[in-house]
């Protein structure tokens, strides 16, 4: 098995000497990450294929014919910042510049909101640091009407989809302009208009719903497709299995994304993955074409997304994509990774930083420069600060300006049933 993403744990020999006659006592195997706090981060065992090496099959290929793609990594940007190989060449300078901009906005927004949370303006925040390319690039493969079923770490879908930063901040602040009326935890956005399904705090539940939405589109002879999102850790949940079963059986027009950012809170990916080598491998058990892509390579993510979406649109059925990336920040503002991984592990991550890699590529292309980058960074910061300020004008979590207790009683049902009316009365609102 060629697995470019092997952590040291999986290299430990699985075989034990076969003993005769009597059996030796059994032992429980508990996978461990290569390094723990105090150790020196080391990803040298991770084999990353050179950019451009992996073939680009026809979209109507058989899953079996491309099973190697579930154990490799599709990459477009090489070390020199050039776009190479069969998956390159789909995006213009303008498109790439837009992509860079989206990632930079997401990063700046994250930084501001992270700080806002620390300042007590809201209760909670989750950032995307290191994973910006995945959602930003994927979004550009979609068409109006397509629907994402995201987790909490795909705000790039909103930003690249043109959703307003002010509305995002209002949701995070649970203020009077919060489109979700203060009902949801920060970052649990919802925007039907922007093809962004309401985020559930429960992991994985939305994955099977994406398949259902796609089946509905097929039932209605529509042309829209659905996109499911899940983290590496959450693939262990039941809904993941249900999604693969139903997608495979009904050949649903859905793209099923796994964002493998190496960690699930404090738990390294080896616990959810077990002995399969990769998460993409899960798709092979269902006859679903499964690809792995360099999630820190904007061009690669976009190219693979395009390929998979085209399959779905052509009624060729589902595709499973594992985005190989790294969660640079803490899991959320409630987490401190220093307790479970070396502090500098992110610096050792071999796939680099998605923003810097795209920036370098654009410079190599002659479409960008360090100066323009700095300038843009400053501009973007201004934009983000302005949006934040505007949102703060509508209140922050603990301010007086917040959704009313009345809003709490609305929307449980389309029409409020008598018992809830009585309760609202009792609450005096």
């Amino acid at each position: 098995m060629s697995d470019p993403n092997l952590t040291r744990e999986t290299v430990i020999p699985q075989r034990e000497a076969v003993q005769s006659a009597e059996y030796a006592p059994l032992k429980l195997h508990v996978p461990e990450p290569a390094v723990r706090p105090g150790g020196t981060p080391d990803f040298s065992n991770i084999r990353i294929p050179r950019a451009g090496q992996v073939d680009r099959p026809a979209i109507d290929v058989d899953a079996e014919a491309i099973r190697d793609l579930a154990f490799s990594v599709i990459r477009v940007l090489n070390r020199d910042g050039e776009a190479v190989g069969p998956w390159a060449g789909a995006l213009s300078d303008t498109e790439l510049l837009e992509g860079l901009r989206h990632m930079m906005i997401l990063r700046a927004f994250d930084a501001r909101m992270q700080t806002a949370q620390r300042q007590g303006k809201t209760s909670f925040y989750m950032q995307h640091m290191g994973e910006e390319a995945v959602s930003c690039a994927f979004r550009k493969a979609l068409r109006p009407g397509d629907m994402n079923f995201p987790t909490y770490r795909q705000a790039g879908l909103l930003i690249a989809g043109g959703y307003s930063l002010v509305e995002m901040a209002c949701q995070i602040y649970s203020n009077t302009h919060d489109p979700l009326k203060g009902r949801q935890l920060p970052v649990m956005y919802s925007s039907r208009e922007h093809g962004f399904f309401s985020i559930s705090g429960n992991l994985a539940t939305q994955y099977i719903q994406a398949v259902g939405w796609a089946m509905a589109s097929a039932i209605k002879n529509d042309t829209k497709i659905a996109v499911g999102w899940i983290g590496d850790g959450a693939t262990a949940e039941s809904d993941f299995h249900a999604a693969l079963v139903f997608a495979s059986t009904y050949r649903a027009p859905v793209v099923l994304n796994i964002v493998n950012n190496q960690w699930a809170i404090s738990t390294f990916q080896g616990i959810a993955r077990g002995g399969s080598g990769t998460f993409a491998a899960r798709g092979l058990g269902f006859g679903i074409p499964a690809l792995r892509v360099d999630g820190n390579d904007y061009l690669a993510v976009h190219a693979v997304a395009k390929w998979a979406c085209e399959r779905a649109r052509r009624n060729l059925g589902p595709t499973l994509i594992e985005h190989v990336t790294y969660r640079v920040g803490a899991h959320s503002t409630s987490d401190d990774p220093a307790g479970y991984r070396p502090k500098t592990e992110s610096e050792a991550w071999p796939l680099g930083d998605p923003v810097i890699r795209l920036k370098n590529h654009l410079i190599v292309r002659g479409a960008w420069s360090e100066e323009r980058h700095k300038q843009t960074e400053a501009e973007i910061l201004d934009t983000v600060i302005a949006a934040q300020k505007e949102a703060e004008g509508y209140g922050t979590l603990h301010s007086e300006q917040r959704p009313s207790a009345r809003d709490m009683f609305e929307g449980v049902f389309a029409e409020m049933p008598p018992h809830l009316r009585r309760q609202r009365q009792e609450a005096g609102v």
């Binding site: 309401s198 539940t205 398949v211």
Partner: protein, 337 residues
Amino acid sequence: MTRRTMIEAIRDAMDVMMSRDSDVVVFGEDVGYFGGVFRASQGLQAKYGKSRCFDTPISELGIVGVAVGMAAYGLKPCVEIQFADYMYPAYDQIVSEAARLRYRSNGQFTCPLVVRMPTGGGIFGGQTHSQSPEALFTHVCGIKTVVPSNPRDAKGLLISAIEDPDPVIFLEPKRLYNGPFDGHHDRPVTPWSKHDLGEVDDGHYAIPLGSAAIRRQGEAVTILAYGTMVHVAETAVAEVGIDAEIIDLRSLLPLDLDTIEASVKKTGRCVIVHEATLTSGFGAELCALVQTRCFYHLEAPIARVAGWDTPYPHAQEWDYFPGPARIGRALIETLEA
């Protein structure tokens, strides 16, 4: 007007709705080609095609999960869980997703979904073909819970459920599928064709969710029941010869509290009957509501007659089932209290 069994009435409701609204889709385990193990969807695949009525893999989670996605898209799925006892794998999708979607998305996404499931005992189904999990639904805000007791109601309530803009759990007492059940398992079964409520209007009609039906007017005591227990209570009342008022709740949430309150205030006594295990059953909520609302009118403690707090056993089915004798005893005690 046609004489129909409860299964036929349920099938008719789906048929009427599928023909009126192309967004209505029906699926579940064995539901497509074969028409369901209780034959509720028989003929629907032949009539509406495989993409409107189909078989699913054995995954209750998957059935409800895809239904939530379809409902968010704009369809109106009416899905079957083969037995209520098998709804647990779908419980997360019902509670955390279907029930919450409108609220958490502030109405951007909604979930007009019906989950049908056969409930209750009386067919020697043992612990995994006999459960009545209604209280596990009534505790969950954002879903409605309906339990019909006869073919006429079943059709009208199911049509309302399918038309409802929110998720509805539709519990079908399987012991009533072929006829009303008087609680005496050793007597011959009466078919629905011999019962008034087996007369079912043709075409479309809706019975609103949240309105109870008074099955028997009476002055001495109020009986609150639903599903199979409505008929068993009727038997008990006849047998002990008491002038009880029998209220068939039909819908547990929303609940027709006005009808309940008026009746208990009139009779001053109340007996609640259900087949589910006693502790934390829906009877507890009814009891709590009645004692608050009617405290000063109550002349005796409210009694609950329910399944015992044990799994539903196979051989001891009729020891477990809250039959006419137990209800009768509770009625007499309540009147004598």
